[in-house]
Symmetry: C2
Subunit: 143 residues, 2 copies
DNA sequence: TCTTGACCTCAAGTCGACTTGAAGTAGGAC
DNA sequence: GTCCTACTTCAAGTCGACTTGAGGTCAAGA
């Protein structure tokens, strides 16, 4: 009776049941059986969902995440991939830091228009050169 | 002759021309005229595109970004909104920082499986509780 | 002058990650 | 035994941000 009903998993993991079915269809999670029609899950699914959530936050697609699990279901993540993702994330963080500072400055700046503020323009130039440099990358979910 | 052809803008800003047309349709940028059929842009559009790009990186939708420009085209952003966005961004940054550190650790951790690493499990727990607590938010584009 | 190729418009398609709707079913309360 | 409700399946819809395709135009080079 340690098994969890889909509703229980949904509640504990903070995702709708439809998402759990969707993840199952994609092979990201598996139910351990049914009670009547209802899916029952091993409590370990919560950990797995947390892993999926962390991966999503880090910017992995569901397909990428799926490939991070060994056939036996154990997470077997390539450490090189992790390190690369950490680096990428670090670049994003620095970029967002610049942006945050720009926003803060613009909020406090007394210039009548932000475009007349040298600090703001400098930040924009920095953002522009970074944008021009890099190829377009995929999304990273916040929160 | 300081005006820029759409191809030039696309190249310099690092976005395809189709995106520029799309942004124009959405009212995010404006062309200053045409040479034959071809859009010509004021060099200032590059700055504006940088602003748009920065906003996208920060997770703002194009509609949100559009609302940050006054009808005259000058960025005239409500300073309170800016300050609030800066705060939000700051929270995101801190979250991503934790995630980055976790990734770095997992990459370096000697445990045979990440699931046997207490730090990794701690990260998962943290991620899980955050996920369970908060509503789902929108995406933030990296790079 | 003629060709070429990069641009043009407009509608429709794509992609990821889900969500929603219709129609059906079973376990538990009464 | 019957009813309610939360689940079930499967297909289709949604949303944001673009991209693609078909059919057309025009400035510049051969």
């Amino acid at each position: 009776m340690t098994d969890l009903d889909i509703a229980e998993v949904a509640h504990r993991a903070g995702v709708p049941a439809s998402t759990l079915r969707f993840y199952e269809e994609k092979g990201l999670i598996a139910s351990i059986g049914r009670r009547g029609l209802r899916r029952q899950y091993d409590p370990g699914v919560l950990e797995r969902l947390a892993l999926i959530g962390a991966g999503r936050t880090a910017g992995f697609s569901l397909d990428e995440i799926g490939r991070m699990f060994a056939p036996d279901g154990q997470p077997r993540i390539d450490r090189q991939v992790l390190a690369a993702k950490a680096e990428e994330l670090d670049r994003t963080i620095r970029e967002l830091g610049v942006l945050r500072d720009s926003l803060r400055h613009a909020a406090a700046c007394p210039a009548p228009s932000h475009m007349e503020c040298s600090t703001f323009r400098r930040l924009l130039k920095a953002a522009a050169s970074r944008a021009a440099a890099g190829a377009r990358k995929r999304t990273a979910r916040r929160s």
